[in-house]
């Protein structure tokens, strides 16, 4: 079991080991949904919530069901099923109790099932042998880190609309190069905490 303190894991997950800029997880929706700051914020919030909850549930499923039954090799399929079921459940609950939230968040929820950051965070928490508190702070921190990255990106993308970019670089290509600069900036946080 790893003995890093939960606070360090939280800060590392947001800044130094940002799940998007350091581990490249959740790139697809990062590229697809980063044209508006508002949209990015909605998606980021949804991801943070789902990620915190699913890392917790998957932690419990792994240590209380899969390990005692020696079914470790079914980890992936069980985790993705848990995530899909959880997202579906949240969607139904939100739709029932808060239609307003459903309309602002609703369209993002199905997208989240196939967001690899969610599955990635669950698997990383297991491979790094985090305890329960550490897993929760890792899930929450990773979600926040993803939120920060996509909101920053959306802000930059809005500016990019007014710039004159060489034709072959337009679209995803320049988005990648901006991300490269962002990742370099985040490298600057490197010395802040050490895992």
């Amino acid at each position: 079991m790893s003995d890093t303190s939960a606070i360090v894991i939280l800060i590392a997950a947001i800044f130094t080991n940002n799940i998007l800029l350091g581990n490249f997880l959740g790139m697809c929706s990062f590229i697809a949904c980063s044209s508006q700051v508002g949209t990015a914020l909605g998606l980021g919030t949804a991801v943070t919530f789902v990620m915190t909850m699913t890392t917790m549930i998957n932690f419990a499923v792994h240590y209380f069901v899969l390990v005692p039954l020696q079914l470790g090799h079914l980890q992936f399929i069980v985790f993705i099923a848990v995530i899909a079921a959880f997202v579906q459940l949240v969607e139904m609950i939100v739709e029932r109790f808060s239609p307003k939230l459903y309309f602002s968040l609703g369209i993002f929820l199905p997208l989240i099932t196939v967001n690899c950051a969610i599955l990635g965070a669950s698997i990383l928490a297991i491979t790094r042998e985090y305890g329960f508190i550490q897993t929760v702070s890792f899930g929450f921190g990773s979600g926040l880190g993803w939120l920060v990255a996509i909101v920053l990106m959306a802000g930059l993308q809005q500016k990019m609309n007014y710039s004159d970019i060489p034709k072959p670089f337009r679209g995803v290509s320049v988005a990648m190069i901006i991300t490269c600069v962002m990742a370099m900036a985040f490298l600057g946080f490197g010395g802040m905490v050490s895992l």
Binding site: I31, I80, C180
Partner: protein, 222 residues
């Protein structure tokens, strides 16, 4: 790996004639999953710090894509439309687990290096996209060709990124016994192996693809 690919596409040409070739060309070049459609980039960026990792990842995707396309296509008339997503994910996850167990059994070092990214093929949009967009509408053999084409297209793009990053990041490329070196005059740029290098090389790769493909695409539209 190369021999297998040639045999597969040679065989399929005979079996399904023109459509096989068109599908193959689309997957590898005109509709390259990585550089043109920009799908499944998480793994593409994460594992490409070395050429050997990129090649193994390409092989993994090829295997999963062919397997899932074949089975989704075989079952396409039996899967109820409403639950097709879950069925597809289950099929894909099965093949990913197979490959992961194989790596763990025979190439433990490689499995350690690739880490969770093999598992993340499950949520890789390429595999899911091909199952959804192609295998659900087409007979098994063409679907296999489509899987092979997309696997190769992905693998080639991955190999290019991996080669560039290892060459500029480490100063030399070591891949399964082969070794290419830039020479002593070059100071390795560690940034290329770290995260920013991945974004940069990938951005440039897309731009190059756009540059060469730009004219084709516009002609197609006309």
């Amino acid at each position: 790996m190369a021999d297998n690919n040639c045999m597969t596409c040679g065989g399929s040409q005979g079996l399904c004639g023109g459509k096989g070739m068109v599908t193959l060309k689309e997957g590898v070049w005109t509709n390259n999953p990585l550089a043109i459609q920009v799908l499944g980039i998480c793994s593409a960026l994460a594992v490409t710090n070395k050429l050997s990792n990129s090649l193994v990842m390409g092989a993994a995707l090829l295997f999963v894509c062919v397997g899932s396309n074949l089975f989704v296509s075989l079952l396409r008339n039996y899967i109820p439309h409403r639950i097709r997503m879950i069925a597809e994910v289950a099929i894909i996850a099965t093949f990913v687990i197979l490959f992961d167990q194989f790596l763990k059994a025979y190439y433990w070092e490689m499995s350690k290096q690739l880490g969770p990214y093999v598992a993340l093929i499950i949520t890789n949009c390429i595999v899911m996209g091909r199952a959804e967009a192609f295998a659900l509408q087409n007979p098994p053999i063409v679907s296999i060709v489509d899987g092979v084409a997309n696997g190769i297209g992905y693998g080639v793009a991955l190999a290019i990124i991996g080669f560039a990053r290892e060459l500029f990041g480490a100063g030399q490329v070591d891949c399964f016994g082969l070794s290419i070196s830039v020479g002593n005059w070059y100071t390795p740029n560690l940034l290329m192996i770290m995260a920013p290098g991945a974004f940069f090389v990938f951005g440039v790769l897309i731009a190059v693809f756009n540059l060469f493909k730009g004219d084709d695409a516009e002609e197609d539209k006309k």
